[in-house]
């Protein structure tokens, strides 16, 4: 039943690139070329493009100096560089790391790796809205803590964390503070200086730029090792000839995100709140996962009792609506979302979760189309479900 129009509401999985970003990149696939490290005119032209993009990313996150922005191949590399680089270089000061229980798998797996290599990791819990327990962070840090890492906003439930408070706690023990801002950067205002952030991972793809590019903010003076060693590009923290086309694209995405953040944030919040209120009003046994207000403008995470998320995703897909789910069957590991479990939602309930993520192309009509389709789909799956009580079928 392929329909002509598709409502793509899965921007947290993949964000389509902004056409203006493509325009900014095209010259570097055609007439502009050269190595930014070369002293000649071609090289200088590339160097200028690289530094222009660096300034735009620095400006988006409030970095004092553009040189504090290191371009990477994406958020996964940024996270690896930050966590492994700080841990290795500060091993003489301690072997303890503090992280939230709801970090993205790319942080979790790096921490798992570090814990197999002599580090101890303390995971601090979150409340039922997905907000990190600040007092637990305070209790977790010790003189041996070298790094605290807490994501800026959660990619699944959209909850925005009390970053400044957590950074202060880290600093009180002379530990570095890293935040994975993959889901937040370009969506909500971030000021690394005011919030006391030492390291911050940013992805280009998640803010409308090309995938395969990212940035790591490293505050001047941070003691860390590079992950990728070679010709000494990016201040020695990330060697390899730079991907100038991709970086120029990321620069444009950062510039657009900054310029349009306020208007776009308001627009998406309205669509978001409309979806949430129509679903909670119209469908029994439907719940919102995450904080009602302290959440990313484009994030809606709902759960429906008695049914399973992947079958919801497939049913919506048949209506031309593309979303995702935190159910076990939707994951590679066959485990339900660790974020929902950390928030105290029981396993069976977590199976019925639906992640709806809005983006630049999302319209109010997409939201209405979703909430028009959902009641019948939920009802149909509940009619088939052995655990649904008779009154909801």
């Amino acid at each position: 039943m392929s329909q002509e129009r598709v409502s793509y509401l899965d921007n947290a999985s993949y964000s389509p690139m902004d056409p203006r970003v493509l325009e900014a990149m095209l010259p570097f696939f055609k007439e502009s070329y050269g190595n930014p490290s070369s002293p000649h005119a071609k090289g200088s032209e590339m160097k200028a493009a690289l530094e222009g993009a660096r300034s735009k990313v620095a400006s988006l996150v409030g970095a004092e100096r553009p040189a504090e922005i290191i371009f990477t191949s994406g958020a996964t590399e940024g996270i690896n560089t930050a966590l492994r680089g700080v841990a290795a270089r500060n091993r003489d000061r301690g072997n303890h790391i503090v992280a939230s229980a709801i970090e993205h798998v790319s942080v979790r797996n790096v921490l798992k790796y570090l814990s197999k290599n002599g580090f101890e990791v303390t995971y601090v819990p979150v409340d039922s809205n997905g907000i990190v327990d600040v007092d637990a962070v305070r209790r977790a840090v010790t003189e041996k803590t070298v790094l605290v890492t807490v994501m800026y906003a959660n990619n699944e439930v959209g909850t925005i964390q009390p970053i400044k408070e957590i950074a202060e706690i880290a600093h009180s023990k002379k530990a570095y503070f890293h935040t994975d801002a993959t889901a937040a950067a370009g969506k909500i205002p971030i000021d690394v200086v005011r919030e006391g952030i030492d390291l911050m991972t940013v992805s280009s793809g998640d803010m409308g730029g090309p995938y395969g590019v990212g940035a790591l903010y490293v505050k001047r003076g941070t003691r860390m090792e590079p992950l990728i060693i070679g010709g000494g590009q990016e201040g020695g923290l990330r060697s390899g000839t730079e991907n100038v086309a991709g970086i120029a694209g990321m620069g444009m995405a950062a510039e657009l995100a900054k310029a349009e953040m306020e208007v776009e944030g308001r627009r998406l919040s309205e669509i978001r709140d409309g979806i949430i209120s129509r679903v909670l009003k119209g469908i029994p046994h439907a719940f919102l996962n995450g904080h009602p207000t302290r959440r990313l403008p484009g994030n809606v995470n709902l759960r429906f009792s008695f049914i399973e998320g992947e079958s919801l995703v497939l049913s919506l897909d048949m209506e031309g609506i593309e979303v995702s789910s935190g159910s076990a069957c939707s994951s590679k590991t066959l485990e339900p979302s660790h974020v929902l479990i950390a928030m105290g939602i029981d396993h069976a309930e977590a199976q019925g979760s639906l992640l709806i993520s809005l983006g630049r192309r999302t319209t109010k009509e997409d939201g209405i189309r979703l909430t028009d389709a959902l009641p019948n789909i939920v009802k149909g799956l509940r009619e088939m479900s052995p655990i649904a009580p008779p009154e909801v079928r």
């Binding site: 590679k332 069976a348 088939m384 479900s385 052995p386």
Partner: protein, 141 residues
């Protein structure tokens, strides 16, 4: 990800529902793990004259439930007991590898329903039928 046949059975599941005066009921899976399946059978002259299901689960769980009702209806008890998970997956033109185990419970569900019928009617199951614990406490992946 899924074959056209899986999507067809997901979209138009066959024989959904309960049989009020079922001769046997099989309950397999666990909602904590993401799949729960109830299979109802009606038996006449040693043949399955009706099979219905109710399932909580993903696309594969629903499609395998639907498919097994189609395969089983009209078969003798002995024939139905020989239906394997692989038979169900093959009839659906295959399942993604990750779904072969977790969501492919329908053959177990049908077997459980037939064993329930046999128990109620004091029929001894053939000795080649393996009796497994009827409920999974832990998610088996």
């Amino acid at each position: 990800m899924y074959s056209q046949k899986v999507m067809d059975h997901f979209r138009h599941p066959r024989n959904v529902g309960e049989i009020k005066d079922a001769d046997g009921i099989g309950k397999v899976g666990n909602p904590v793990c993401g799949d729960l399946m109830w299979i109802f059978i009606k038996v006449k002259d040693n043949k399955l004259v009706d099979v219905k299901f109710k399932t909580f689960g993903c696309g594969a769980a629903i499609a395998t439930s639907s498919m097994i009702t189609e395969i089983a209806i009209g078969k003798t008890i002995e024939e139905a007991l020989r239906i394997t998970r692989q038979n169900v997956a093959d009839a659906l033109d295959g399942l993604p590898p990750i779904k072969m185990h977790c969501s492919n419970l329908a053959a177990d569900g049908l077997k459980a329903a037939i064993l329930d019928y046999m128990k109620k009617n004091n029929i001894t199951p053939p000795d080649w039928v393996k009796i497994e614990p009827e409920h999974e406490e832990k998610c088996d992946v």
